[in-house]
């Protein structure tokens, strides 16, 4: 028996008889038909020209409807754009990111048994310890007779009730060290801690009082250096006192400056010898404070005073432009780093000329408005980092190229030292 065709165009004809034009395709699909050559009949309006008789000979058609020559509007994409803000990397061209070799997991994970490189000291220990023995020391009599004094007294017919002995400088029996541990001085925390530990090893802990001042002032409770316990800060009478801090001068905090001046007056009335080792350039010192605290500048190239006397403030040259230039150059050197610890900050600062970057430059870079800080490290804000990296990449003069070469060499050496597989 012959099978009947499933497809029958007569059904299509009857079904479409009363169907509106926009529903014809749907009905036709139900019957097994579809509009043929829809793609071929649809053309862009610009491509449709008038027919020979003034009408469009092959106009676009919808639903395959013959004879319908109404123009149809089409949307044509001509431009692509986004309303998202352009990132800094895109603005400055991020192609260099594609060309560099990515950091491997091994390089990101330093060996646990290897500690980070030491922070370069503000001043060499060989220069520091004589100064420290002066400010924390006292004159003692030795066993040897002071013959010259004895002869002089005899020649002047003075009664000799006690044989004069030669005197020498020695550590005082008791000494007090105050460390300014406020957050603003975080780049110098390690320097102060290292210094106190070295003093302890040199003279012994007996009679040595170390104190941390978390708020940078003696008005609030202090913590003992070795036990971290809170306690009242009351140095015994006559004990030499040494401050490791800026006395509020780096941050130009008048409240702190006033508090330190009052504290020095109080100590001097009790017979204390007051000294201060300041990680602060001398042109920022306060002359009154420098008189109350026999001060020394804790920075490279600075002379440490002898004889227990302090230095005077340097006349302010008010060369603010030079200071800003130093900070800018230091930030440019720091810009390739994603995490900048105080050691790196110090190392790079020491690459700059002493007249351009001092310990104050270090402080200003750490607290720069274009940087973000944590208690452990700092980082430049992304946009600033990108901008300053461009400055860092600039060719510059021979000196700048030399500095850049030393940075690359130092970082390469660090990577080699800290790579676990090396």
């Amino acid at each position: 028996m012959k099978r009947r065709a499933v497809i029958n165009r007569s059904d299509l004809l009857l079904s479409l008889a009363d169907v509106p034009a926009n529903a014809r395709n749907a009905v036709a699909e139900l019957l097994g038909y579809e509009a043929q050559g829809a793609e071929e009949t649809v053309r862009l309006p610009t491509e449709i020209g008038p027919g020979p008789g003034g009408a469009e000979e092959h106009g676009p058609r919808l639903g395959g409807r013959p004879g319908s020559a109404e123009p149809i509007s089409f949307l044509i994409p001509v431009r692509a754009s986004s309303n998202k803000p352009e990132s800094a990397v895109e603005r400055t061209g991020g192609r260099w990111l594609e060309t560099i070799t990515s950091i491997s997991e091994d390089e990101l994970s330093p060996a646990k048994d290897k500690s980070p490189p030491p922070t370069p000291a503000l001043q060499p220990w060989s220069r520091l310890w004589p100064y420290l023995r002066q400010v924390l020391g006292c004159q003692r009599e030795s066993q040897r007779l002071d013959v010259r004094r004895l002869i002089r007294d005899a020649a002047e017919l003075r009664p000799i009730r006690r044989l004069p002995r030669l005197r020498f400088l020695a550590w005082a029996d008791r000494a007090c060290i105050l460390v300014d541990r406020r957050d603003a001085l975080m780049p110098f925390w390690d320097d102060a801690t290292d210094l106190v530990n070295r003093i302890e090893r040199l003279r012994g802990r007996e009679g040595l009082d170390g104190w941390w001042l978390d708020e940078g002032s003696t008005a609030v409770a202090a913590r003992r250096f070795w036990t971290r316990s809170l306690g009242p800060l009351k140095p015994a009478a006559g004990v030499p006192v040494l401050v490791l801090g800026d006395l509020g001068r780096l941050s130009r905090d008048s409240r702190l400056t006033r508090a330190w001046a009052e504290f020095a007056g109080h100590l001097r009335r009790r017979g204390h010898q007051c000294s201060a080792l300041l990680p602060c350039p001398r042109d920022r010192w306060d002359s009154r404070l420098a008189r109350l605290w026999e001060s020394a500048c804790w920075d490279r190239g600075e002379r440490l005073p002898r004889g227990g006397f302090g230095l005077r403030p340097r006349a302010s040259e008010s060369d603010r432009q030079k200071a800003c230039l130093g900070v800018d150059q230091l930030l440019a050197l720091l810009s390739p780093g994603v995490r900048i610890e105080p050691g790196l900050l110090r190392s790079l600062r020491l690459l700059l000329e002493p007249g351009l970057a001092d310990v104050g430059t270090e402080f200003e870079a750490w607290h720069h408005a274009e940087a973000a800080r944590t208690p452990l490290a700092m980082a430049l804000l992304p946009e600033s980092a990108v901008r300053r990296r461009a400055v860092f990449r600039e060719a510059g003069d021979e000196r700048k190229r030399a500095v850049r070469g030393r940075i690359v060499e130092a970082v390469s050496r660090l990577l080699r030292q800290n790579r676990p597989c090396s």
């Binding site: 099978r3 065709a5 004809l13 749907a26 579809e34």
Partner: protein, 98 residues
């Protein structure tokens, strides 16, 4: 019944038999030819898709529908055929795309 080999002969064959059935109800030669062309187009496509091919019976069904919808009006019959001219068989008629 077997259709001839060439398309022209097939069309003539179909028209010849259709005239016997419809006589004056469908007068225009154009209507017969257009309906025959559409049927042969479906026939070719059905063969390619593996369906049963429509034949003279389906041709007569189509003409009957035309004569019922537009009796003795050649223009309306041609217009009705033009409406379905651009429809072709779907490859998967069991799955309407709705």
């Amino acid at each position: 019944m077997k259709l001839p080999d060439t398309e022209k002969q097939q069309i003539d064959f179909l028209i010849e038999r259709a005239r016997v059935h419809f006589g004056d109800r469908i007068k225009g030669e154009k209507v017969y030819r257009e309906a025959a062309r559409q049927l042969l187009k479906d026939r070719k496509e059905a063969q390619g898709l593996g369906h049963v091919r429509p034949g003279p019976a389906e041709y007569l069904d189509l003409l009957r529908a035309l004569s019922e919808l537009h009796p003795e009006n050649e223009d309306d019959q041609l217009h009705a055929l033009a409406k379905i001219r651009d429809f072709a068989l779907r490859k998967n008629p069991e799955e309407p795309r709705l």
